[in-house]
């Protein structure tokens, strides 16, 4: 009689100990995180200069000659377009329906915040643009090639080395159009207008990230890009994320908002929202959806 009880107790103990053990091995990354230096100010500008961004990212892609040529050609296109914007023949900017930055930009140079939720079998990164990265740590391999296609977030697997999550991502496709076909842009953006540098990776790029909590208020991501088709050597990058100081919940970017900057006579202008907005007079519940409203 005692033996079955002991067996039951032992089974429960082992089960709970296993579960608790797995849980306690998981670091506590709760809270909201933002990239140090890529945080926006109230006017929408970034807070770090390009020099600071390049330094903190450890920017220095070892581009091969083919990539150098692609970047140079692209920069020429950029210069022409910027000249057209300055001369007024191009309104500048563009519209798009998504908050998608895609990988690796969500990790490297996005003004959006994120939450990181580690569990034994999977770590999920949820960004305020509603992008999600799933990093499977259950021992699986990458998705077989015949079942795999490229997406803006790629195919990620990982494993834990102590409190460090090692992530391996392949099959990345840029969400951006207007770039060299098939290429993955990596961009560093500084605080002042037109302060950016860019390079391009090939579709075969592989990304190894080591992310860990540096201290209670900082996560650090050490990224290595392996891409023999575009780089002469692995490219090591780094980004640090800090706790969002004034917020203790996720607030999403609402990319479905109405257009406040229409193009009129070939130039952008502003159309302020009606006063029936959050923080102002509430909108009537039965307001017809999608009906344009003139500013008050």
């Amino acid at each position: 009689m005692i033996r079955p009880r002991l067996a039951l107790v032992a089974a429960i103990f082992l089960c709970c100990a296993g579960t608790l053990g797995a849980q306690t091995r998981m670091p506590d990354w709760s809270g909201q995180w933002e990239i140090v230096g890529a945080t926006p100010n109230a006017s929408g500008g970034m807070v770090q200069s390009l020099d600071e961004v390049l330094k903190t990212m450890q920017w220095g892609p070892p581009n091969n000659p083919g990539t150098q040529a692609i970047v140079a050609e692209f920069q020429g296109i950029i210069r022409k377009r910027l000249e057209a914007i300055r001369s007024g023949t191009d309104p500048g900017g563009a519209s798009g329906p998504t908050c998608t930055f895609g990988f690796p930009m969500v990790m490297l140079d996005s003004p959006l915040m994120f939450e990181a939720l580690p569990t034994p079998k999977e770590t999920v990164l949820i960004f305020s643009g509603r992008e999600v990265r799933h990093v499977y740590t259950d021992g699986r391999q990458h998705t077989p090639k015949d079942e795999l296609w490229a997406t803006p977030w790629g195919d990620s697997i990982g494993h834990w080395e102590g409190q460090t999550l090692v992530m391996d991502t392949i099959a990345v496709k840029s969400p951006f159009s207007g770039i060299p076909p098939g290429r993955i842009p990596v961009i560093a953006i500084g605080a002042r207008l037109e302060q950016e540098v860019i390079t391009f990776l090939s579709p075969e790029a592989q990304f190894i990230e080591r992310i860990h909590m540096r201290d209670k208020d900082h996560l650090e991501d050490q990224m290595t890009v392996i891409d023999p088709a575009s780089l002469t050597a692995p490219w090591h990058l780094s980004r640090t994320y800090q706790r969002v100081a004034h917020l203790h919940r996720m607030v999403y970017e609402d990319c479905e908002g109405e257009d406040r900057n229409p193009v009129v006579n070939g130039h952008y202008t502003i159309v302020p929202p009606p006063s029936h907005t959050l923080g102002s007079t509430p909108a009537p519940i039965n307001a017809p959806a999608g009906q344009p409203t003139a500013p008050n």
Binding site: S43, G45, I85, P97, P111, Q195, H267, Y268, T269
Partner: protein, 133 residues
């Protein structure tokens, strides 16, 4: 519908066109080479996506009044630096530094400001920090 991101990304947005996260509100309509200061009374603080607006009533020298539309960044960005939907209220008398519109429309891009209590609005750089933009 436009994207929400920042004018700091304008040049990139110029390269990466439709369906891009960087393809956002242009901010090209603001004259980045000019900064003007306006004083007035808040008519409305429109806490809305994709961008927040301050509607400011500004008195002219002849006694007439114009309504200016001052565009800020998104609510998601503003709450991260401490702004709230009630940070400004109708009737508040404030001073704003803005990049004005190219086309002469009474509006501009928010840069910094002085609140109704005479203190810098949240996120306004101190002189030692310079203008973070």
């Amino acid at each position: 519908m436009r994207r929400v991101l920042t004018y700091a990304l304008v040049a990139i947005a110029a390269m990466l066109t439709a369906s891009s996260a960087f393809a956002h509100n242009s901010f090209a309509m603001f004259d980045q080479s000019k900064t003007v200061t306006i004083q007035g009374t808040v008519k409305d603080f429109r806490w809305t996506n994709p961008h927040v607006f301050i509607q400011l009533l500004v008195k002219n020298e002849d006694g007439t009044e114009d309504e200016w539309s001052i565009e800020m960044t998104s609510p998601e960005h503003l709450v991260r630096v401490g702004w709230k939907p009630g940070t400004l209220k109708p009737g508040d008398k404030i001073t704003l530094n803005i990049h004005p519109m190219h086309d002469g429309v009474k509006g501009g891009q928010y840069l910094s400001g002085i609140g109704p209590d005479g203190q810098p609005l949240i996120g306004t750089p101190t002189p030692s920090q310079g203008q973070a933009k």
